[in-house]
């Protein structure tokens, strides 16, 4: 099966500019996650979708970050305006299992490396 796709792979922007990332999960995967991974740290969950609804966005800086999942498939994550501390790898992951089931393997995309100057 095709894996999780993300684009772009790399992005360099100046602070206060806007940027958007795109994710296409594995076909049929109901759950989609966006993570932020700052250099030297583990992935931090930003937002989790179940189909096209938001399950959790408690760690999403909503004053500048937004995300949507169109028709329960593709998703976009936007930052507006960007700050220097937003420099990180943004990972998208998807999983097949619905809440309440026991197996929760996540499949990760290659990530988008964002550099804010």
């Amino acid at each position: 099966e095709a894996g999780v796709a993300q684009s772009p792979r790399y992005k360099i922007i100046e602070k206060r500019q806007s940027v958007a990332f795109w994710c296409n999960p594995i076909s049929g995967h109901a759950t989609l996650y966006w993570y932020q991974q700052i250099l030297g740290q583990g992935p931090k969950l930003l937002i989790q979708f179940q189909n096209n609804g938001v399950v959790d966005d408690s760690q999403l800086p909503k004053d500048r970050f937004s995300a949507e999942r169109l028709k329960g498939v593709d998703s976009t994550l936007k930052i507006q305006p960007a700050k220097l501390e937003d420099s990180a790898v943004y990972l998208c992951a998807s999983s097949l299992v619905n809440p309440g089931q026991t197996s929760y393997e996540q499949y990760f995309g290659p990530g988008t490396r964002l550099t804010v100057t």
Binding site: G3, Y33, Y35, G40, Q41, G42, P43, K44, L45, Q48, V55, D56, L91, A93, P99, T102, S103, Y104, E105, Q106, Y107, F108, G109, P110, G111
Partner: protein, 110 residues
């Protein structure tokens, strides 16, 4: 609050030596624990999960609820095991959120 701690940023061992990557967690309920691995220039991928109680690529991990630990072990390290390893916790009663540790880089020397 949920937390996953990996105390070692870097672990270097010689080929054939035993390896143990430490993971401790804090969670008030019953967690589900995972180990993820990222080889050079590859995606993050699942290595093993505690509910499966399986051995993958010679690695095993046992959930110790008393010590709140989920250490990853392999009796004889191989050079191809060199990678970043992340311990992760799924908070079953908190929207199934995932919490990752900061990772341990394993370097297996020839």
């Amino acid at each position: 609050a949920q937390r996953v701690t990996q105390p070692e940023k870097l672990l270097s061992v010689f080929k054939g030596a035993p390896v143990e990557l430490k993971c401790n967690y804090s969670y008030s309920g019953s967690p589900e624990l995972f180990w993820y691995v990222q080889y050079s220039r590859q995606r993050l991928q699942l290595l093993l999960r505690h509910i499966s109680r399986e051995s993958i690529k010679g690695f095993t991990a046992d959930l110790n609820k008393g010590e709140t630990s989920f250490h990853l072990k392999k009796p004889f390290a191989q050079e191809e095991d060199s990678a970043m390893y992340y311990c992760a916790l799924r908070a079953i009663y908190n929207f199934n959120k995932f919490y990752f540790g900061s990772g341990t880089k394993l370097n297996v020397k020839p």
